[in-house]
């Protein structure tokens, strides 16, 4: 198959030893810049940005970033908006402990299904429509909260609001169409992490809104209902912004480009087949269930845990709960950054080791959190647990874009669904019955995290290797990504985007390819 000698830029990798160390940009020799493109940021051959300029809103790359993460943040706010108000809601609706536990499971279960569907929608219709449709169609479910008058209604509405968490998939997918693979870990980690922060922010926002509304004269049982209008309005505002300001790809919108013939339309059946038959997909589904999954479960139980075990006042327990979720501001981007940084030196093998270390660390500190008897120790362990679990989420999505180019959407969707499934399962097993106290539940959850992270050792890429095995000498990126198309499809030229992607993903070999100098008369083996 095509060798790597002479492929544009690769021979310069690491030679000067003076590459910038931070993961917010990719220097030109490493990934060639497409100088014909007219964008605000330097772009590669697919017109994906090579640089991540955080405080810019320039179209399309950075604007997409901000639209995407804020939409996802809004959905997290509305999904977990009930959690800090449970003490009022449980009195208004006469809820029992199992009603509250069931509602917690329901709030994360709805999106198992919607994330799977969203993956397919992104592949076929584009992330812009996916995001806008979901955000605006879930706004009525948020407004429905003010109509609820029974335990059944409460569980049903939380289930429906939970569907909106599928914006995670559109967010990650949209990022990977806009940003180069060398910085995708950091970008995805930041976008998703800041979105996840919504689960922490809501523990601060909703009680404040409730207090303000009560001060204007409402009774408590009406005030919490009015408070839910604010997340509902946020949904509508973000949906309109995404529709008017967003675009699917750096060069335009999916339907316009498909009509122009620039982007080949794909078949859902084949996309699904290649996702499902790749064993790495399923390992990452499990892994994400025990990084994101435990984060969601903890979001639902941690305030109550501190309130009961350490006899804290509700607002103080809420602040601690918010801290857990808000750690996402830095923890998840850090995970993506750590993944990208380790890839610089060790390629994909570095990414896999980083993921294993971070997630296992999270599991150990979850176990210790359950065991902690004093408040300062418990808070310290909780913070380290949150950093480990959330950074692991970021590191997971540093690897997922490389599992498949063709079925990226479906695999993202499956992994996202796995996250929620893990959360629902963990809450059901350890936090919904009186069989285990909450501290025992946390201990067992920690043990389960450590065990369910071990399968990452089985993930092997022929061209890059795995945690313990080196790459095969004859394997190449082109071969791996072209294998997703049949002979017929290759004849039709459907695999061209995958070839471009394969070229750009060469960086996952790590420093090893640095030593080969460029032969003076070399021409590239492929265009």
């Amino acid at each position: 198959m095509a060798g790597i000698e002479g492929s544009p830029g690769s021979s310069m990798h690491g030679v000067t030893g003076r590459e910038p160390v931070h993961a917010f940009s990719v220097a030109s020799p490493i990934v060639p810049t497409d100088t014909t493109a007219k964008f605000d940021l330097p772009v590669d051959s697919e017109h994906k940005a090579k640089k991540f300029k955080l405080f810019s809103f320039a179209n399309p790359h950075m604007r997409t970033f901000h639209l995407s993460w804020i939409s996802f943040f809004t959905c997290f706010v509305s999904t977990f908006a009930a959690a800090p108000l449970v003490p009022i809601i449980r009195d208004n609706l006469n809820l029992t402990k199992s009603d509250i536990g069931n509602a917690g499971v329901a709030s994360v279960s709805g999106s198992i299904f919607s994330r799977l569907v969203m993956g397919a929608v992104c592949d076929l219709l584009g992330p812009r429509y996916g995001c806008a449709f979901l955000v605006m169609l879930s706004a009525p479910t948020v407004f429905c909260m003010s109509l609820v008058s029974s335990a059944g209604g409460y569980v049903a509405v939380r289930f429906m609001i939970g569907f909106s968490l599928a914006t995670f998939v559109s967010c990650q997918y949209w990022m990977s169409t806009m940003f180069n693979s060398k910085i995708i870990g950091t970008v995805n980690g930041t976008a998703a992490g800041w979105g996840n922060m919504g689960g922490g922010a809501t523990q601060l926002i909703m009680p404040v809104l409730y207090d303000i509304i009560k001060k204007t004269g409402s009774t408590p049982f009406t005030a919490w209902r009015i408070a839910f209008f604010i997340p509902g309005w946020l949904h509508i505002i973000m949906g309109i912004l995404v529709m008017t300001l967003g675009q699917d790809l750096p060069d335009g919108n999916l339907s316009a480009l498909q009509k122009k013939g620039d982007v080949a339309k794909d078949q859902f059946g084949r996309v699904l087949w290649y996702a499902v038959t790749n064993y790495r997909t399923w390992i990452f589904v499990l892994l994400y269930g025990y990084s994101m999954g435990v984060e969601l479960s903890t979001d639902n139980v941690i305030a109550e845990y501190f309130y009961d075990r350490f006899d804290l006042k509700l607002h103080l327990a809420g602040i601690i709960a918010a801290t857990f979720g808000m750690a996402n501001l830095l923890a998840r981007p850090f995970g993506g950054f750590a993944s990208d940084y380790s890839a610089r030196y060790f390629g994909m093998r570095g990414r896999l080791w980083t993921l294993w270390i971070l997630q296992t660390l999270g599991g150990v500190f979850c176990l210790l959190l359950g065991r902690a008897d004093s408040l300062p120790l418990a808070v310290a362990f909780m913070i380290i647990f949150s950093i480990g679990a959330q950074a692991a989420c970021g590191a997971t999505f540093g690897v997922i874009p490389f599992i498949s180019r063709r079925s990226l959407g479906v695999i993202s969707g499956l992994a996202g669904a796995g996250g929620n499934f893990g959360s629902g399962l963990t809450q059901l097993l350890f936090f919904s019955t009186s069989k285990y106290t909450t501290e025992m539940g946390l201990e067992y959850m920690g043990i389960m995290i450590i065990c369910c992270t071990l399968p990452v050792m089985l993930v092997h890429f022929p061209q890059w290797g795995s945690m313990f095995l080196p790459p095969s000498k004859k394997a190449s990126e082109e071969h791996y990504y072209t294998a997703e198309y049949t002979e017929e499809e290759v004849q039709k030229g459907m695999h061209h985007n995958s070839l471009k992607f394969a070229e750009n993903s060469r960086s996952e070999r790590g420093n090893r390819i640095a030593s080969a100098p460029t032969p003076p008369n070399a021409t590239p083996n492929y265009v």
Binding site: D91, Y129, M136, P140, F143, C144, S146, F221, T222, R225
Partner: protein, 201 residues
């Protein structure tokens, strides 16, 4: 010198014991007689109906037992059926941690003669089964005696409160309007987009 030291140490130990000795419900004597107007099984509407309470000292006890009573605080308390599966209403002997009585009705200075009070059930009282309990507090605010409208097992003379739903017609209408706006504007933008794409072909 030695006796001085002993005195100081014993004083210090007794202070310590006094502060760490938390008040428990089982240590309280039921010296107050408390009656409430609701009949057993009656349903009261929150925000509308009244409860009339009357309390006095039970004269069968030795006189002087009420020498430490400074204030009476009357509370609305959850009956066992409303505590089931609801750990946040749990009865615990240590009074500082007890969650049985969460709604204060009135706090008045103590007099040994009969006192009455009429209370409108507040709008934030949840729908549940209740009884009424009065605590006598000493000058430090610590509970020293109690009285309640039910028996020791909290099974007799319980009444219900029907809470407000918290829903309003105006909220329902606002919900419907905003939901409709969301769906209509989504479809509006979608079709506008499609038309633009067709015309740019």
């Amino acid at each position: 010198m030695a006796t001085n030291a002993c005195l100081v140490v014993s004083l210090w130990i007794s202070c310590l014991l006094a502060t760490t000795h938390a008040a428990t419900f089982s240590s309280l004597q039921r010296t107050l007689v408390l009656t409430a107007s609701p009949q057993a099984g009656q349903v009261l509407k929150a925000g509308e109906d009244n409860i009339t309470l009357a309390w006095s000292l039970n004269t069968t006890f030795a006189s002087g037992i009420d020498s430490t009573y400074k204030t009476i605080t009357v509370e609305l308390c959850y009956a066992p059926i409303s505590q089931k599966d609801r750990g946040w209403r749990k009865t615990v002997d240590e009074l500082a941690k007890d969650k049985t009585c969460q709604h204060n009705i009135v706090k008045k200075p103590y007099t040994s003669s009969n006192t009455t009070f009429t209370w409108t059930v507040r709008k934030d009282v949840p729908g549940a089964t209740y009884f009424v309990r009065a605590y006598a507090l000493d000058s430090a605010g610590k509970e020293v005696a109690f009285g309640q409208t039910t028996d020791a097992h909290k099974t007799t003379n319980l009444f219900e409160v029907e809470a407000i739903t918290g829903r309003h017609v105006s909220l329902d209408i606002a919900s419907a309007c905003f939901s409709a706006f969301s769906i209509v504007s989504l479809l509006g933008f979608f079709f506008m987009d499609k038309r633009k794409a067709k015309s740019s072909k």
